[in-house]
Symmetry: C2
Subunit: 381 residues, 2 copies
Amino acid sequence: MIYLDNAATSWPKPPQVIQAMTDILKRGCANPGRSAHAMARQTEDAVLNVREAVAKFFNIKDPLRIAFMPNTTYALNAAIYGVITEGSVVATTAMEHNSVLRPLKTLESRGIIGLETVEPDRYGRISVQSIKKVLRKGIDLFCMTVSSNVTGAIMPVTEAGRICRELGITFLVDAAQGAGVIPIDVERMNIDMLAFPGHKGLLGPQGTAGLYVREGIKIKPFIQGGTGSFSDRLFQPEVFPDILESGTLNVPGIVGLGKGISFISETGIEHIRLKKKKLLTMLFEALSKEENITVFSPGPEQNSGIFAFLVHHMDSSEVSYILDRKFGICTRSGFHCAPLAHRALGTSDSGLVRISPGYFNNETEIELTIEAIRSIARRKL
Amino acid sequence: MIYLDNAATSWPKPPQVIQAMTDILKRGCANPGRSAHAMARQTEDAVLNVREAVAKFFNIKDPLRIAFMPNTTYALNAAIYGVITEGSVVATTAMEHNSVLRPLKTLESRGIIGLETVEPDRYGRISVQSIKKVLRKGIDLFCMTVSSNVTGAIMPVTEAGRICRELGITFLVDAAQGAGVIPIDVERMNIDMLAFPGHKGLLGPQGTAGLYVREGIKIKPFIQGGTGSFSDRLFQPEVFPDILESGTLNVPGIVGLGKGISFISETGIEHIRLKKKKLLTMLFEALSKEENITVFSPGPEQNSGIFAFLVHHMDSSEVSYILDRKFGICTRSGFHCAPLAHRALGTSDSGLVRISPGYFNNETEIELTIEAIRSIARRKL
């Protein structure tokens, strides 16, 4: 089986990720922050270590401003619902995932927020010019992804951050498709809130994600409940990370995530990016000139790791189906939870086939995939 | 180390729980419901199997009415915020955890809901009479725990369910302290919504929980985002479980939870209950007549597995501290995220020492614990 669906979730995980999860589950995994006994303190230390590793990874000054969460969708909802108030004006781009678009459209449809959208070009790219056209003083929040989950197109986060800072707009970045491949520095990029997944580019297990909130950003708690702190109070504490971390954390998952981040730091994010670029380049070189294929992803330089394409006169699901059943190649087809992106790309009817290689894929696997796709495109099945 | 903090999180886990998590992480853990390739289908099947196991365990007719969630706090928030509307009247008991009280107090303080509270007696017990005094036609939602996380007192869920059904009140049950020890049957108990943890009595890993919502209960989605279904739409789908399951699920955790439930089914919930009762009985018999000790838990028959006590003239934290440092015994002290329960018990200043044995504790461990507590109470340290 050739796994090329790393944009959905990365697989395989580094062995030390799984080992660390097994170890803590066996050795002792208490409830951190609740009790004060030895096992609870050890568990709390384990979680704090990962909080510090995440902070270092994204250049976050205060690790306590990072709250662990179950997935990026949750983190984005917590960020959006946490900072908007009635009458807020929010801007976003048409390339966003439904984890940003659905909460924003829901809030807009209820008359709570005003919503403005930055449009991409027909290749799904967001230009600095198009951002400047939409952002202005009076906009409260701008949400943008690091790179498109449909095409892999890398977005101008640094420039957007600079514009937001100048205009006093809170800048929320969705790192679902960027973390672990593209270096993210919340200070340099002027990121006010960063939502990141643990189970994609950071190579941790599913069930892990987080939200960083810069000091000074006023945020309401998203859920209220047991925090282990201020237990005698009937209202959610205001301290970080407790304000955003109610209920028992996914400790084995978080510990696994810590090992994913160590693996990336040891391997080097630049090395990971280069490896992905090399695999992408192979796909582009072999398939972009193929007669029956249209490629929708930008070239490897502007791409975080996705090769999105269509075979003419074939449904995207059919292509993925053949790749899976005949060749044992795992890809994703159809719509990628980003309806406005598909509209912009003109693929609202067909969907797209998405190939997303990971660090653990090798050149042979990509060669086999190229041959398989060629044989489909040339109808030599 | 003697672990007696199972009410916070159960430990150890059955070996098959950890094994199953390791297996799926190694063998292939794709993103269920997103792609259609072989690994994604296998992952989806694995999740569906656990959904069916949970359904069978709680006698839930339609497994698709169960949404997996990261923890019970989240499940309770999703249930409460999902069914209330402006002007709703909600009733609850003073014995609830902050995961129920904090969202309700927040909603009350914002003027969104009316809130009425059933008071316990001074032993923290909720009588059917006191429930009848508060519940009436016009109340929209009643939230009650299966058993108190402070004292272990088992609540009259069956009777409360009958009253709610008669009066047309939606009945939300918090099974954080009951699931896996007390048989829960949503049909027989007239439970409309059941929030349950995976990592306590069900012996699964942290990061797992769920919410069951009976067919016919109108619920709004709590977060909005990618569901893998209806990906081309800008609004959250209404189908179950997608309406409540946005973002990537904690698949390894859910698979582990499945093995926890199998373990309970194979062992027999009645056998687990009896084992806990035996250990509790030892604690009661040895310590309840001890001169310097006051016990706050009801006897083993009315108790899901907690022995809460105070040593006279000692802070609860001090007792837990000595138990930990001198005897290697893990207990929880202080306030247990249930401020109104402490008020009712008169322990708002002192907190309580909570001992919560699990199925894997043995009699020797309890004997050692009894001796340790006696030596503290008799100041023979």
